[in-house]
Amino acid sequence: MSYRDYVIAAYGVFAVVMLWDFFAPHIAIRQHVRAARLRAARMASNAKESGFPLSRE
């Protein structure tokens, strides 16, 4: 009565779901930060092209 394969399968499911739970938010954070960086770069290049400074400070 070892049922080893069932135990391995159950712990495998646990490991896979926990890995997804760990990596999914980190990937989302990286994507949001990257999008913010691209947006900032786009705004800076638009300001440069139009010849107006971004701020008067």
Partner: protein
């Protein structure tokens, strides 16, 4: 002068402050949770003896039970955050409520999958429309409903309110899941482990279980912070502090 705890609570409502807080504490909670779970898993797989009736298959209990508890506790917490968000319009509580949903869905999925895998050798079937199994499946659908509703509406605040309402209404399912094994004739076994009362398990088998219960709770806290941080950044996209953060990380 404001009480430091109250002041900290108010500060936490500030998106940039919450970002710094979650960036600092999410990895700590994940690391600590992993450490405690590693101790629990070692005990569950290598230390505790096999059950005299179920053999080694009973070891599935060490991931099945903590996940089942987390699936219900997470839903209750999500409803509490959603209620606070609806009543006091606190944006951070909206974010936290919605961050609970995928984590709770993950724990519910683990509960159902491990229960099914455990059920095959013990009951002779992968699935049965038993009250406990069916109500837990409905819980998964509720989580998916909350996630779907939140992502279906463009306006983040309206989306969080609609999904939060579903979470509050869904709370009625929790006592049904808990008492399903008492109210109905069930294939699923009755309560064997009690937080405060007497557990019907040998004392030598309990330490890894409590380690897993604590570990999954600490892990949950890390996931909650990480997911809330991601949603906070998504909502605040275009704000100066996010642009500064992006520049600092480039």
């Amino acid at each position: 002068m404001m009480n430091p705890v109250v002041r900290w609570f108010h500060q936490l409502g500030s998106p940039p402050y919450f970002d710094r807080f979650s960036a600092r504490w999410a990895p700590v909670a994940h690391g600590l949770g992993l450490l405690v779970m590693a101790y629990g898993l070692y005990g569950a797989l290598f230390v505790v003896p096999a059950d005299y009736q179920q053999g080694d298959s009973f070891r599935i209990l060490y991931i099945h039970v903590p996940s089942a508890w987390m699936s219900m506790a997470t839903f209750a917490l999500m409803a509490i955050y959603a209620a606070i968000a609806l009543i006091w319009r606190i944006k951070l509580c909206e974010i936290l409520a919605m961050a609970c949903a995928p984590i709770g869905a993950a724990f519910t999925l683990i509960t159902l999958a491990t229960g099914s895998i455990w059920g095959k050798p013990m009951w002779g079937t992968w699935w049965d429309w038993d009250p406990r199994l069916t109500t837990e499946l409905i819980l998964l659908f509720l989580y998916l409903g909350v996630i779907g509703l939140y992502n279906a509406i463009d306006d983040r605040r309206s989306a969080a309110r609609a999904a939060g309402l579903l979470a509050i209404v869904g709370v009625v399912l929790l006592p049904v899941i808990h008492y399903s094994v008492t109210w109905w004739n069930s294939l699923h076994q009755g309560q064997t482990i009690s937080l405060f009362g007497k557990s019907h398990m040998d004392a030598s088998m309990l330490p890894p279980l409590w380690a897993m219960v604590i570990g999954t709770h600490v892990w949950f806290f890390g996931s909650l912070l990480a997911r809330a941080r991601a949603d906070n950044l998504r909502r605040e996209a275009g704000k100066d502090w996010v642009a500064k953060l992006a520049r600092a990380r480039s």
